[in-house]
Symmetry: C2
Subunit: 117 residues, 2 copies
DNA sequence: GTCAAACTTTGATTGCTGTCGTACTTCGAC
DNA sequence: GTCGAAGTACGACAGCAATCAAAGTTTGAC
């Protein structure tokens, strides 16, 4: 398979800059479904704490790589992170300000909340 | 079935004041799992808007009665509502202040968030 | 060119959870 | 007492979402 269209010049096989949704199209339902998973919250916390872009690989997660990919995908679709490639690494950044503009106080409350008892 | 123990005097069959958890035992995970369901958020919004206790029946929900019971149960277990009986009606109140003490800003952000596009 | 690193894609599995209908309980009214 | 209203309990079922392993893609280094 991988029936790529005839390659012309430097166009990558797939879009290496994946689509990022407009925050105005994100529903509260979608945002909460993204944030209810503890692994995804761990990612959000790591990005928030880092304050800079991080490649997927440097965020320690208790799941396999394919599952991690899945989680990053969900976060991107929910408008929580922005992704772009640097070499073979996919860099991730929190879309904190945009998200807060859409859902004021939500991200702040979550990163501030105690994660365990 | 319904093999109730021999009733003695006025003791109700089941505890008519169901157990309410201490907010300190509620995890963020539990709170979010409760709040991720749109029907349950609808209940929370209704109680928040009413500002007073409401019986289950007066909150219009797009589900059957047994499902509604389930949702109230989940909200109670997550420390979001307090329930007590008045006659055959079960009254529900938001545990807003206690919840906010445990997870500052979370409930506020959710009730303030736009629910649809 | 080859190779390894870093992800991604696909397909399968598995467990959870929201839903319902039915039967049951409790209470107030009569 | 009987009856209806308001919920609850109990299975059962269906759909979804998290997970993994295996194979594939893309890039930079050599």
């Amino acid at each position: 398979m991988a029936r790529t269209a005839p390659r012309t010049g430097s166009t990558p096989t797939r879009d290496r800059v994946p689509p990022h949704p407009d925050l105005r199209t994100i529903t509260l339902q979608q945002a909460l479904e993204a944030l209810v998973d503890p692994v995804r919250r761990q990612i959000v916390r790591a990005l928030h704490a880092a304050g800079e872009d991080l490649p997927c690989g440097v965020i320690e997660l208790p799941v396999g790589k394919s599952t991690a990919t899945h989680h990053f995908h969900v976060l991107r679709e929910a408008g929580l992170i922005r992704q772009h490639y640097v070499g073979t690494s996919r860099m991730n950044a929190l879309r904190g300000e945009e998200f807060t503009e859409r859902f004021p106080g939500l991200l702040e409350a979550l990163v501030a909340a105690p994660e365990q008892l």
